[in-house]
Symmetry: C2
């Protein structure tokens, strides 16, 4: 299919037109492009360009839909110069969950004014009470519920009467007289049952549900594991508060998986031109640990200055011992971070994982000790003990690195710190410092310096 | 909700019971646990334990559903000792897309016998023709299509008559007399339109579709961007071949995002006890590049042996210069790998990205040159040129690393290599070697050694 390249071309065209400020050509392009494609293309523009483009959208429904598909950062920048009336007009055209995302992305002062203006809009106010990364923050309160006394025919009639809510009807939830969830059935079951069938006789009673405080990763795990299109959110009395739909879960999964990867490297994903300073700032903080570790390493190496002056070739092996230790450590840490995210490594029961990493570390350590040792002996045939020192050190460093790499994310998790954020600098610094200490002590011992 | 902990407890219980070989307790547990939960728990067991547990499942439908939720590796191990008749009996109870996944996971010889046995089952044979990571490999051929002459009432009647196919009905596709896709409508629209309404008057003509050869990541991107529940797969004449449903897309997104992260570190995700050797083997290959680079670095440092003998403190700064270069390089490379995966970095138009990384590299280089230079001058006040050498070198190394880290994944992509796999070793090796060359040459120049 050419759809991908076509999109890329539309994006390039859009960018060119925005930069040339070609208003009438842009209006034409906007008219024949889907709102979600416009939103995706806008994410590559600068804030000023985004605002300029957005002002060209005439139709309110279209404008609301574009805004609903934009990231929080873009929404904030685009609404920055709007009045509260303009924002409220857009909110009125949005689904409650998208409206809530928009309100929470607004610049603070504007948000206060918008909330005052909204007044009666209870949905948005209630949804704002939940943190963004919970089931409550993801849910929409528009749920199609039927009383447990209803029949299939009545449910179909209610669906037909009520097309405002139809946007999010994937399932029909059956509730008792206090709105407590007691069962679920599908639109397809409604269609294939005789109209007089009571809902309770076709519903599934074992409904997978979450509380509003449930973490969004956990919600995503449920939806993925049970192949759901939507998952109901209930309070402590089983009363239904809303529903999280699969399209929002897809976004969560995309974000979360990418986030862990970016956090491991200490970077932020943000492709706009304005962000060199922000990107540098985020990365500088993370690298500070590396430079701290590096200075510590320099101090430690300084302690062995005399050793180095006598056997200068020892310095040559510092990079490989540190590099191998660092890489093995990051490998184990990556597995630990992933395992903690997917649940395959449990904070309280990680012994099996650490033990397996330890064995992998020993295997890799032996393998590379042999390899680097052989090189060392062949390279400095007059001083075979140099090769032996190097082999012993790299073997120990690799085995240590595997254990350290496996343990640090688990320890951070236990301490309530996101393991993806802090793991990288911790692991490399610790592994580097330990690697050097092992190396010089082994060398001094074997070479009796 | 306690569902998460409850699952973890069920898993632990399951493991204990399997290890104690407590058949009757296991049968009871199986009877009250969902097949997808059993499958998730089984992934933590050894192959032998998985087989032992699987044999205890009496009901065929349940057994088929557990198998459909298992990973390819587990399916292969479980079916290894089955006869072709047993496998075919399970396949008969599966959706065609799950059946296809199972067949392609079978041990080779068994697969041939199963395919012979299947004979008439055209669905599975046709689906097997597509690579697993394409739209064709993900799709199910069970699509609910209606001719363009039908009315809403006829469509509902057809749905009611045809409940075998109902499993995957999220949309009603409208086709012309050669089965070419011309429109789509939802079950909800069917319900809310008068029965005599022609389908063509309520359908959307602009249907987002993919070809069977489309890469699964691209399919996932479409489903995410347009909030779809299913996406039709069509041949070159627009004839509908099947449909990819959102539950399979959720699995793709989970896999792909994790895969990139694991590939960057050169590890495989696999938590079974048997895998120490496999894990070590995969990682050893990836680390080979690191050790190659390390030996090269050692050789280069060897060239400057005389310099080192005279100013031994220079050796102390090798780790920090290499470490910072390596980390900045990996940061830029991570952003490039993510950008290539999400489409925000285009292979042919990456100049903007590289230029931004270059500027970030210069900012970070200046910052850390200042920091490390200050340390160097304060630490060795008698030889201020040591501090100046170190500052110059780390600044250059960081800026170079940012550009190299940004370019290598793009170059690998252009050469048809998965950037996530090869980026790590390439970037660290190149950055290390260049960093050392810069450092010693700057030092020799400034210290006039």
């Amino acid at each position: 299919m050419a759809t991908d390249r076509l999109n890329a071309r539309t994006e390039a065209l859009l960018r060119r037109l925005v930069r040339r400020d070609a208003a009438s050509a842009l209006r034409k392009l906007l008219a024949r492009t889907r709102p979600s494609d416009i939103a995706a293309a806008m994410e590559h523009l600068t804030w000023a360009e985004q605002r300029r483009l957005y002002r060209l959208i005439d139709e309110d429904d279209y404008a609301a839909e574009v805004l609903a598909h934009l990231s929080g950062d873009s929404s904030r920048e685009i609404t920055r110069e709007m009045t509260e009336e303009q924002v409220v007009a857009l909110i009125d055209r949005m689904e409650p969950d998208d409206a809530t995302d928009l309100v929470s992305a607004l610049p603070e002062e504007l948000r206060a004014r918008v909330l005052q203006e909204l007044g009666a809009e209870e949905d948005v106010r209630e949804l704002l009470a939940w943190p963004r990364d919970t089931a409550g923050g993801l849910m929409t309160p528009q749920v199609f519920c039927m009383p447990d006394t209803a029949t299939c025919g009545q449910a179909i009639a209610a669906l037909q009467a009520n097309d405002e809510h139809l946007e999010t009807v994937y399932y029909v939830y059956v509730v008792d007289n206090v709105r407590a969830l007691i069962g679920v059935t599908s639109l397809r079951s409604l269609l294939t049952s005789p109209p007089r069938t009571p809902l309770v006789s076709i519903m599934t009673r074992d409904v997978i549900r979450v509380s509003p405080a449930e973490d969004q990763e956990e919600v995503a795990r449920f939806v993925a594991r049970y192949d759901l299109l939507a998952i109901p959110v209930v309070d402590e009395h089983s009363r239904i508060l809303g529903v999280v739909t699969v399209d929002d879960v897809v976004d969560v999964i995309r974000e979360e998986a990418a986030e862990d990867m970016l956090r491991m490297a200490g970077v932020v994903e943000d492709e706009r031109q304005a962000s060199v300073v922000r990107q540098s700032w985020t990365r500088a903080g993370w690298l500070l640990a590396t430079i701290g570790g590096g200075i510590l390493a320099a101090e430690i190496i300084g302690l062995y200055e005399e050793t180095l002056t006598r056997v200068a070739v020892l310095a040559g092996f510092i990079p490989v011992i540190m590099g191998m230790g660092g890489n093995v450590g990051i490998q184990s840490a990556t597995l630990a971070v992933r395992g903690l995210a997917t649940g395959s490594v449990q904070i309280g029961g990680a012994f099996g994982f650490v033990w397996r990493e330890a064995r992998v570390g020993v295997v890799l350590g032996l393998l590379y000790a042999l390899l680097l040792g052989t090189y060392g002996v062949l390279r400095y045939p007059g001083q075979p003990l140099i090769g032996v020192s190097v082999a012993t050190s790299i073997g120990l460093a690799i085995a240590l690195a595997a254990v350290i790499g496996a343990c640090i994310p688990i320890g951070l998790s236990r301490g309530g710190v996101d393991p993806a954020i802090a793991t990288g600098p911790f692991v490399t610094t610790l592994v580097d410092v330990l690697g050097i200490i092992v190396y010089f002590n082994v060398a001094r011992l074997l070479l009796t310096l």
